[in-house]
């Protein structure tokens, strides 16, 4: 597994897309910090970019890379290596490459310009999103035989997470606004990894507003270490479940 990991990582390091991703994030982050006088305002814009862009890139890149390295995977599969090791090595390499790229492109500007709790939360949830959507991308790539189809499904999944889920939740909230459904809406929102990440950052940034009304409740929950643990658990679940499905699919797949 370590060998597969190593060679995939070397291949990824040569891949211009990963470098491009790192530079893009760096460019966006530095640009926002440059344009806005107030670093905490730049962070708010950055949150929106990260919450939309990171899942998209992680998904699409993983899917495209999986198809492109199919021949290499086939070559590996005829060697006396367990399929489990091949997939684990590849997944690990993909996650590592994207995390390093993101650490460089997003983490570095954050540390330089705004070393505070909100920035830490943004890095934390950004990394979580990379893991989750890499795992999802891999599963999609394994399930679909055709590359174009795979990318299509990937885009649809991204769209569902980033827009449709919130739209549905808000529709639900509106139609049941006369009922006490508040205890359901927040956990439901937290089920979506993108919303979860956003809420974690927002609790640090919009603290003053969150403290108003029932905001104190969220603060008590998400602001505490227990809440962060729950958030981490949700993200972990979103990583682990698709990965398990990926392994099952890969074991049985006719390459």
């Amino acid at each position: 597994m370590l060998k597969v990991f190593k060679y995939t990582l070397i291949d990824l390091a040569r891949n211009r897309f990963v470098l491009g991703y790192a530079l893009l994030m760096l460019f966006v982050a530095e640009g926002l910090f440059f344009v806005e006088d107030d670093p905490s305002k730049a962070l708010l814009s950055l949150v929106q970019v990260v919450m939309a862009l990171v899942p998209l890139i992680a998904l699409v890149f993983t899917i495209v890379y999986s198809y492109d390295s199919l021949e290499f995977t086939q070559l590996l599969a005829v060697q006396p290596i367990a399929r489990r090791s091949i997939l684990a090595g590849q997944l690990l390499a993909l996650c590592t490459a994207l995390l390093v790229a993101q650490g460089f492109g997003l983490g570095l500007p954050l540390i330089v310009h705004l070393p505070n709790m909100a920035a830490l939360m943004l890095s934390f949830s950004g990394s979580g999103l990379v893991l989750v959507f890499t795992a999802l991308g891999l599963l999609i790539a394994l399930k679909q035989r055709e590359k174009a189809r795979g990318v299509g499904v990937g885009l649809t999944v991204w769209f569902l997470f980033v827009l449709v889920y919130d739209a549905l939740l808000m529709a639900l909230m509106f139609s049941f606004s006369d009922h006490p459904i508040e205890p359901f809406v927040v956990p439901l929102a937290a089920l979506n990894p993108i919303d979860m990440g956003r809420i974690l950052v927002m609790l640090q940034v919009d603290l003053a507003a969150m403290m108003g009304y029932s905001g104190a409740v969220y603060k008590d929950f998400f602001g505490s270490y227990g809440g962060i643990a729950v958030a981490a658990a949700v993200l972990l679940l979103w990583f682990v479940v698709p990965t398990l499905f990926s392994f099952r699919t890969f074991q049985r797949k006719d390459l």
């Binding site: 980033v162 739209a167 939740l169 969220y218």
Partner: protein, 405 residues
Amino acid sequence: MEVLAIAAPGDTIHVYGEVHEGTITIEKSVVLIGHDGAVIDGGEQGEVVLIKSNDVTIEGFTIRGSRISNLEDNAGIKASECRNTVIQDNFLDGCFFAIYLSGSKGALVEHNTVVGHNVRDDQMGNGIHLWKCNSAIIRNNTVRNHRDGIYFEFVTDSRIIDNISTGHIRYGLHFMFSHRNEYIGNLFRDNGAGVAVMYSHHMIMRHNRFEANRGASAYGLLLKEINDGEVTDNLMMDNTTGLMVDGCNRISVERNEFRNNGWALRLFANALYCAFNDNAFIANTFDLSSNGELKENVMSGNYWDRYVGYDLDHDKVGDTPHRPLGFFALLVERIPYAMVFSRSLFVSLLDRAERLLPTLTPAALQDEHPLMRQQEWVGKADKNNGNAPISVRTMNGRSNDMDHG
């Protein structure tokens, strides 16, 4: 202190480093000056210093031990029905009420440090409490950890200048039915509910700082049923709600800076003929929120950091109006826990669409002349603690000295 009995009116009594136990009642016009840590300890008997004569001065004492009571308002220093009381340079340590003036005329409360216990609110009275007074001056005091820091009820023509009021259970400053008062250059921070001005008219509020008042019903400044008030050159920062306007008429809110608040401005639809001009709104979660239509109010020449218009003629005023009332602000007003969707992509899209084609938000309230850049003089309340006199250039360039002495 026995000397009080033989003192003649007009005498000055110097007390050196003595600890006096029990209540002192002053029934003559004397000046009482403490030196070298002179202490008056009421010993939890009831009142500590009771002033019952005109022209009394209490200066330089440490005063403590007024009994907590649910029936009587026991105070560290209480003056009732007196004229020209002067209370200065005292340290009031953990009194139930600290300084309590009722029916006083022309009192001066200056340079005192008032610190409460900050226990449950039924165990704690107000720091500086005025009832049915007029022409009082409260200046340069530091008040901490009481129920209300400074409380005015039926007080007229008085001034509150350059005080620091922090960490109170309820309000840092609280006015009820008190007219024609001014408060200038004060700092209010970390109070349970901020500052409240209620049922009063002709109030002047200038150069104050309202900071870090957080909680479900905490406001930097709450104006309730105020007529003809003036809120200028203040700074509202890090509050859950910066300024709340409920049932007010003819209020002018000008040249204030709203920074980092949850809601910068919450305007109830019952506001009439209020003007919000030349303010700056920066990095607030919501700049404006309301519970209905906003009519007959004016809003012009403000700086909004959310403004996305352009300025083709380079007159530093945006060419398109700004609508500060967003769709999401209205949504949260209706369904508070919609806050979880704050800054999600979907909400941002809806907000943007609403700004382009307003259908839900009332069109009445918009800034026709939003500024492209923040004016320099906006919100220049003293950044330290409000003790130094501040000169602020007003719009027409006149120097408006705020040290009214």
